[in-house]
């Protein structure tokens, strides 16, 4: 392929009109879904990768349209009389499609990096997630190109591409994307390598498989069932993807966690540095309740920093789509240390649970610090969140009294309570 032919393809490809749509989809899917990933490099990397799945559906349809252009333009005969092998003729076309796909992918990556840089601190986007995004782009382009070659209809290829690419959402083991990238996980090297190999195989098929209307002429491949063989190879490739293991695997805990200086301490994964301040503030609010009614652990750990078998490790906090999930974990950790260990009679379980749930809801609200942000709906079963919000807005000494009241009620309802 000469640069000149590739340049001509870029200038004349119908995809040049699709590019703004692809870019708009990329940016819309990056920023339109959520923004909690901003400021955490692996989360930002996964967020930058995911739009490739969405605009890949459109890119695949475009690739099918572009690949079918030869047939629609009636150039089959001239190409059969060419000195170039068919794959050489297809290469600039597929390369042009890929170029448009990759160009559409770049703005999302750049935006993810720029908006994250200030909060995230040292580090950068993780290449493995970006490689996964590039895989998605190549997969979409190659699948579309192949479909466009194999079906001369205007619509069947696009529908086929949509079904193939959308189908992976139904089958987790063959997915080529991840929904998020929490720091406790990373893209599995073998799983990524197998996926790269698969998309390269698809790209090779897209280039080399003869189109439906091709004349094999002198080719030694005449009589060889190329398309069925390719279908078998593609299926084997998918099986390899499925057995290569999960796309995300656990990371070992960092040698040095990022911890606050205050007591109680807050320790989290270094990549989650932007949450250190907010979580420390949540812990400080819980710790500031007067009267010593609450018992806080000396250190609040983010999940994965210590072995799951460590005492209280089950209550270690996690960031699930941002820090909105953290007060719940902090509350659980505090309750586990504050509540006495009671043998609750079965006929008192409901009242007991109500007191515990009320205390839990209050601790979450106090920890979060903004009752209005959480709203009045939801909350633990049977708990009036308006009442909890009212309590959380009282002066601290009145709140401490309310907490002591709940703890006293727990001791009264539960039989044979012992302090922990």
């Amino acid at each position: 392929m000469t640069a000149r032919v590739f340049w001509t393809e870029l200038r004349r490809s119908p995809l040049r009109w699709w590019l703004p749509v692809l870019v708009a989809l990329d940016v819309a899917m990056l920023l339109g879904r959520d923004t909690w990933w901003i400021g955490v490099w692996p989360e930002a990397s996964a967020a930058a990768q995911l739009p490739a799945y969405f605009f890949g559906l459109v890119l695949g349809g475009g690739a099918a349209w572009v690949a079918g252009r030869t047939h629609r333009a009636g150039l089959t005969e001239q190409l059969s009389a060419s000195t170039r092998a068919r794959w050489q003729v297809e290469l600039p076309v597929l390369a042009g499609t890929l170029a448009y796909g990759l160009v559409a992918f770049v703005p999302g990556v750049v935006i993810a990096a720029v908006v994250s840089a200030r909060e995230a601190g040292p580090g950068f986007l993780w290449p493995s997630y970006l490689a996964l995004g590039v895989c998605l782009v190549v997969l979409s382009a190659a699948t579309g190109h192949l479909a466009g070659k194999l079906w001369s209809s205007r619509f069947v290829p696009a529908i086929t591409v949509a079904v193939c690419l959308f189908g992976q959402t139904m089958l987790r083991p063959i997915r080529f994307y991840v929904l998020s990238g929490h720091p406790q996980a990373e893209v599995s090297g073998p799983a990524l390598a197998v996926r790269v190999a698969f998309v390269l195989l698809m790209a090779a098929f897209a280039l080399a498989l003869p189109p439906r209307d091709a004349r094999l002429g002198w080719s030694r491949a005449r009589g060889v069932p190329l398309r069925p063989l390719a279908a078998v190879a593609a299926f084997a490739g998918l099986v390899a993807v499925a057995v290569a293991g999960p796309l995300l695997v656990g990371r070992p805990a960092p040698a040095r966690a990022l911890c606050s200086d205050e007591t109680p301490r807050v320790c989290l994964w270094p990549e989650n540095r932007k949450y250190l301040g907010p979580v420390s503030a949540m812990v400080a609010r819980l710790n500031s309740l007067p009267g010593g009614a609450l018992t806080l652990p000396p250190t609040f750990y983010e999940r994965g920093l210590r072995a799951a078998s460590a005492p209280d490790a089950g209550a270690d906090f996690q960031f699930l789509a941002g820090d909105l999930s953290v007060p719940s974990f902090l509350s659980s950790a505090v309750i586990a240390r504050t509540l006495p260990d009671c043998e609750v009679p079965s006929d008192a379980e409901e009242r007991y649970s109500h007191e515990v749930f009320s205390l839990d809801a209050y601790l979450q609200l106090r920890g979060f610090g903004d009752a209005a942000a959480l709203g009045n709906d939801g909350g633990p079963p049977g708990v009036d969140m308006r009442e909890i919000a009212r309590v959380a807005s009282l002066p601290d000494d009145r709140q401490a009294e309310w907490v002591k009241g709940r703890l006293a009620a727990v001791r009264e309802i539960g039989g044979d309570c012992r302090d922990r």
Binding site: A73, T83, W218, R220
Partner: protein, 252 residues
């Protein structure tokens, strides 16, 4: 004059149906008109000459290259310009883009392709429209662009399959002038047509095909001389052609 293409004992067909039967043909510089009724095998013969389809039987030599394999066919195609009957083009390409692309398909070296494309466009008098999109051109201009794509890089053998179909009289005259200039430059042109006027206007040599066989070969004057008394036709050449076909029973 040395042959640019030699076909010996060519048999061609699709499935069990024979379309060309035991055909020998030498193509030399000049314009060879292939005349014959629909279904005579003209297009199949041109496709065989263009090495698009391998013959079922017989041998092909293009510019001395024995064409017996994919590799040899690709090598031979560097010497062949081919304008198929149903000429395809990308409507969004400009004339220059398309001819330049065809130069690449032909294997014209990259450093010579730009000049070759400009020369071919100039040859068919489309230089002023070289930046125009193909979809904006008239049928005649598109046909000239097709000829430019066939002659880009100046292959010694040019195959034109029914190139005047759908052209108005003025466009047909333009086309003939282009073919004459190719002839003047010692290019071997094979012109498949069922229009006897085209043959009369530009051909040095005529081959008449019927039912997959070459039933007659000679110059246009000889063809006119083959006319039988009372033969149908509006010109001596047409009457000669119709007489030949009647003799072959190809007019049924």
């Amino acid at each position: 004059m040395k042959s640019v293409a030699e076909l010996r004992g060519i048999g061609q067909g699709y499935g069990a149906r024979d379309v060309i039967v035991d055909l020998d043909l030498d193509v030399r510089p000049g314009v060879l008109g292939l005349l014959g009724p629909n279904g005579a095998g003209k297009t199949t013969l041109l496709r065989t000459l263009a090495t698009v389809v391998p013959p079922k039987r017989g041998t092909i030599h293009i510019c001395g290259i024995p064409v017996g394999s994919q590799r040899a066919a690709r090598r031979a195609r560097r010497h062949i310009g081919y304008l198929p009957q149903h000429f395809g083009f990308y409507p969004g390409f400009t004339v220059y883009d398309f001819v330049r692309y065809c130069a690449w398909l032909r294997g014209v070296p990259d450093d010579a392709a730009d000049a070759a494309a400009r020369e071919a466009i100039d040859f068919v008098n489309l230089t002023e429209r070289s930046r125009a999109r193909l979809k904006s051109l008239s049928g005649g201009m598109i046909r000239r662009c097709g000829i430019a794509s066939a002659i880009v890089g100046r292959p010694p053998l040019v195959l034109l399959d029914e190139p005047t179909v759908g052209l108005d009289p003025a466009q047909r005259l333009e086309f003939r002038s282009v073919v004459r200039r190719l002839r003047d430059e010692d290019t071997a042109v094979v012109l498949s047509t069922h229009l006897v006027e085209d043959v009369a206007a530009v051909c040095d040599d005529v081959a008449v095909m019927a039912s997959g066989r070459m039933v007659w070969r000679g110059d246009p004057e000889s063809l006119a001389g083959a006319a039988r008394p009372g033969a149908e036709g509006d010109s001596p050449l047409e009457r000669g052609y119709m007489s030949l076909l009647a003799g072959q029973g190809a007019l049924a």
